[in-house]
């Protein structure tokens, strides 16, 4: 990327909340039902129907606000955003406009290629989702599915404080982990539970004034967000370097072609004619309510990472990786507890190394790990109590991955138990030394590198079962003679 330019990114994320019923009606919110089977007369915008606010969504929004250190507005107001679209049954979307429920706050991100950075949040507000227009399967017509219409959304708007696509992705991952920690959303990107709009502009390094921005709509994967921003920044820089001007517009990212294209310009934008929805009362939140939600807050990613550092003496990198998702942190603590809690660092290394590598290879989530934390913990316990060596442990781990269950049974059955019997170890060493007399002479004449050769031969002869520390110690003694 051209280093004369600075990329400015602000993100708007639409998060579907996991309430049982919709934001303003009693209809269920489950994903994937037959079209229009989860749409009541309220969701369909029938004449005379009225919205009733789902208080559970309020709890969730306040939970989010408190978790990012934001101000929870004592009074927030639902407004109507007026525009015509076939999947918008009432001709307006109910959304919070100038008085949102959550104001301010911040997220601490840990970009892969940089130092931790705090990103300020502008606001988060509640609104209802729209339905879906289905353009396939209907010759010359469009189908409308209103199952999604009215599902509660929390829209989280960041300040334009990200400076690279990687930072944007890190922000999204941090936000994604947080909402999953809070259990306010399933965060399912494929099902559209977590949708991102990116505002991108560029300016020459050192310029104070922000450039004209474009908004890339509805990007549904972290990887595509990264690629879309990279593409868009490159496009803008090319235009500016050729003396052109950026048009303020909404653009869409086409993943197949890896490019963004214009959807509509500012001139074509709707005048939404926002005004307070007269069918709904202002949402009032008092101190007692906030105190109750505060009490219900779980341990948050940042707090957990700090606890991992102090309680388990892990470094900051390990702590942050392990707390990146609630499920991974849980896996770690379960593993540690099954391993007898002696070796936090060893547990961390096994999870971040062997386990995650294996899962990545199979494209599996931690929750779908073929090795349970109980089995992995048991394996680590056997390393700790010297029943097996780390090398043997890797062999056993392969078997666990392949579906075998009982660590001790594998050790027993395969005879993998580590040998710590000094007499037996001496016997093997003696045999190896006897079998390689010339190497012993060479060693004594100064070729000390041959020490490794002897270790290799000994381990080979014992199928790696001898305790490596003892082998080291005894071999040194034997060779001194």
């Amino acid at each position: 990327m051209n280093t004369d330019w600075e990329i400015i990114i602000g993100l708007e994320v639409h998060i579907q909340l996991i309430t049982a019923s919709k934001l303003f009606s009693g209809s269920p919110t489950a994903y994937g039902a037959q079209p229009n089977t989860q749409a009541s007369i309220i969701d369909l915008g029938f004449p005379g129907v009225l919205p009733v606010f789902n208080q559970t969504a309020l709890d969730m929004a306040v939970k989010f606000g408190l978790s990012i250190g934001a101000k929870v507005a004592p009074k927030s107001v639902f407004a109507r955003k007026n525009y015509f679209y076939p999947d918008l049954p009432k001709g307006y979307q109910i959304s919070q406009y100038n008085l949102p429920i959550v104001v301010g706050g911040s997220l601490l991100i840990h970009p892969e290629d940089g130092v931790p950075k705090r990103i300020m949040i502008t606001r988060a507000h509640l609104e209802e989702d729209a339905g879906k227009s289905l353009h396939e399967h209907f010759e010359g017509q469009s189908g409308i599915d209103l199952n999604r219409a009215g599902i509660p959304l929390l829209e989280v708007v960041s300040e334009p404080e990200m400076r690279s696509a990687k930072e944007a992705v890190s922000y999204l991952k941090t936000l994604h982990a947080l909402i999953r920690y809070l259990e306010i959303s399933d965060g399912n990107l494929q099902e559209g539970s977590f949708r991102c709009d990116a505002n991108v502009s560029v300016r020459r390094q050192g310029d104070a004034k922000l450039g004209t921005r474009t908004e890339i709509k509805n990007v549904n994967s972290f990887r595509f967000v990264e690629k879309a921003i990279q593409y868009e920044a490159k496009r803008q820089i090319e235009i500016l370097e050729q003396g052109g001007k950026i048009t303020q517009e909404t653009r869409a990212y086409d993943a197949h072609k890896d490019e963004t294209r214009s959807l509509r310009t500012k001139e074509e934008a709707n005048d939404y004619r926002y005004f307070p929805d007269p069918d709904l009362l202002p949402v009032l939140v008092d101190a007692a309510f906030i105190a109750r939600i505060q009490k219900e807050l779980p341990e948050l990613p940042q707090e957990k990472a700090e606890r991992f550092e102090t309680m388990y003496a892990l470094n900051s990198y390990d702590a942050n990786v392990l707390t990146a998702t609630k499920e991974l942190a849980h896996y770690f603590e379960e593993t540690l507890s099954s391993s007898g809690t002696h070796e936090p660092k060893l547990c961390a290394n096994w999870i971040m190394g062997e386990l995650l590598a294996a899962l990545n290879k199979e494209n599996l989530e931690i929750t779908a790990s073929p090795v349970s934390p109980c089995e992995l913990g048991h394996l680590i316990l056997r390393i700790h109590d010297k029943t097996i060596s780390g090398k043997i442990a890797k062999t056993i781990f392969e078997k666990l991955l392949a579906g075998e269950k009982d660590v001790d049974a594998i050790i027993e059955k395969q005879g993998l138990k580590q040998v710590t019997d000094t007499d037996f170890i001496e016997k093997i060493i003696d045999e190896v030394l006897k079998a390689n007399p010339s190497q012993v002479i060479d060693y004594h004449s100064g070729k000390e590198r041959l020490f490794g050769f002897f270790i290799g031969q000994i381990m080979k002869a014992s199928q790696g079962k001898l305790n490596p520390e003892q082998v080291n110690e005894i071999l040194q003694l034997k060779l001194k003679i």
Binding site: P47, G48, L50, N82, P86, Y92, R273, F275, D279
Partner: protein
């Protein structure tokens, strides 16, 4: 029988003087004979007879609800399950509601029998019933005159004794003004007293449903059933419903009645004023004390209303887009064409005028100057009333400046039409309860007296009106030609 009050009809049903079925047939017969008045969009003859028989059976078994067997007509703005609900518009001419409005189900549970859906100004926008897609309603007192609007069909049907009772809605005077011009009693309750669920919205922050009947006592019986908390309407107020009939006979001794000087100035027809002065003398005789008060921002109520109501209506009527229900234009070329032509062909000119005004005042760059300013003035108007109610118990004035005007007289001049509502509109902006009761005839056309109460003081308004109706007989007078038909 046509002039019986609800209480008298209930007594007749109780004593087996007549059955509900006979009652329903009787009124259906009158409706048929007076069809030229055009009071009804739909007459639900079959359903009514079935429902009446069911009520009669229940009565035989000794199970009877408060208003068991009483025929009623609903303004066609209320959703009625399985029955066409048009809102007076071509847009909903083909719309059969899949559900009952809360008000409809409450009155159904109370045993009333729906005999028809009444004509109205399109989407309740109008003061003369001339904007209805189904043609104007004629005033039973004089077929050259309008019955008022927007609940003109309900008012005229009660006035012509085609139904003992009807429901109406009032956004800027739409219960009280037609009640006045048709010579009946109509009550607009406090905003939030009666559920708006299932009542097709015109201006959500102003709309309120209420009873329309011959007498205050009948209105009390109806409101008793209509009022109360409904979890389906967030703006509905959870406040106990008093017994409205229990206080009807309270004495008016010491009652402080305020006369807003702004209601008695220029524009008020001198003979209407004379009727009011006569009424005041009667109330004074009953012990009331009269006091002049001021509502200084009255003149601002019409411009304020014509910003807020159209703004809300422009958004509320966006759902009528030809996509899911209602009118859809022939052979739309694409979605924009479908929207444009469905709405262009489905809405009448007054509705379109208000949608345009509302869209304009909410537009970016105009919002602060119009909508926000109007909300501020609205607060001033509410404050005027608050101050007044520190000095008086109730406010009395005319419902309308003149008796009913002629059909066509104001139809081409919307502003003069809007000015008819000068005395009623401020009440909606403040959300207060108000009642209109018959106060005499001027040029053989009825005149209404308006009583405005403090929040949730419907019982007091009904009490005063009932006492007034004990010493007058305006409410018993039947339009010429509407006696035995």
């Amino acid at each position: 029988m046509y002039n019986y009050t609800i209480a008298e009809l209930l007594k007749g049903l109780d004593t087996r003087q007549f059955s509900s079925e006979e009652l329903v047939k009787f009124f259906l017969g009158r409706i048929a004979k007076k069809s030229s008045l055009n009071c009804f969009i739909t007459v639900t003859e079959t359903e009514a007879l079935l429902a009446a028989r069911a009520q009669d059976n229940k009565r035989h078994k000794g199970e009877q609800a408060a208003l068991a067997g009483i025929p009623i007509a609903h303004k066609d703005i209320f959703c009625t399950k399985g029955i066409k609900t048009s809102c007076g518009s071509k847009m909903l001419d083909n719309f059969v509601s899949p559900y009952d409005a809360t008000l409809v189900s409450r009155l159904k549970e109370a045993g009333t029998v729906l005999i028809g859906k009444t004509n109205m100004d399109e989407f309740a926008m109008g003061s003369s019933n001339e904007t209805s897609y189904y043609g104007p309603v004629l005033n039973p007192w004089d077929p050259k005159a309008v019955p008022g609007g927007s609940s003109g069909g309900s008012a005229a049907a009660v006035a012509a004794r085609l139904t003992p009772a009807a429901t109406g809605t009032d956004t800027g005077g739409s219960i009280r003004q037609p009640a006045a011009l048709s010579g009946i009693t109509g009550l607009k309750p406090t905003y939030g007293r009666v559920s708006r669920y299932g009542m097709i919205a015109f201006a959500s922050s102003l709309d309120q449903a209420g009873p329309m009947a011959k007498t205050a006592e009948d209105c009390a019986l109806l409101l008793q059933v209509m009022a109360g908390n409904d979890l389906k309407d967030s703006t509905n107020v959870d406040k106990p419903v008093p017994n409205y009939t229990a206080s009807l006979n309270d004495s008016l001794e010491g009652l402080r009645i305020g006369l807003p000087k702004e209601f008695f100035g220029e524009g008020l027809h001198p003979e209407v004023e004379q009727q009011l002065r006569d009424a005041l003398r009667l109330l004074e005789k009953q012990g009331a004390v009269i006091k002049e008060i001021s509502l200084p921002n009255t003149a601002l109520s019409i411009p304020t209303y014509y910003v807020i109501a159209p703004a809300e209506c422009s958004s509320n009527l966006a759902r009528f887009d030809g996509v899911r229900y209602g009118y859809r234009c022939q052979d739309p070329k694409n979605i924009d064409d479908l929207y444009k032509r469905s709405r262009q062909e489905g809405f009448g000119s007054e509705v379109k005028r208000r949608i345009l005004m509302g869209t304009y005042v909410l537009s970016s760059g105009y919002y602060d100057a119009y909508y926000l300013k109007a909300q501020q003035v609205r607060n001033l108007i509410s404050h005027d009333f608050k101050a007044a109610f520190k000095e008086v118990d109730v406010i009395l004035g005319p419902t309308t400046p003149t008796p009913a005007f002629n059909l066509g007289e104001k139809a081409k001049d919307p502003v003069s039409m809007y000015l008819c509502d000068i005395y009623t509109i401020s009440v909606n902006l403040a959300g207060l309860p108000a009642l209109s009761m018959p106060g005499g005839l001027v040029n053989k056309r009825p005149v209404g007296i308006q009583l405005i109460g403090n929040y949730f003081e419907e019982a007091k308004l009904l009490n005063i009106a009932h006492q007034f109706q004990q010493v007058t007989d305006w409410h018993q007078q039947v339009p010429p030609g509407c006696e035995e038909v």
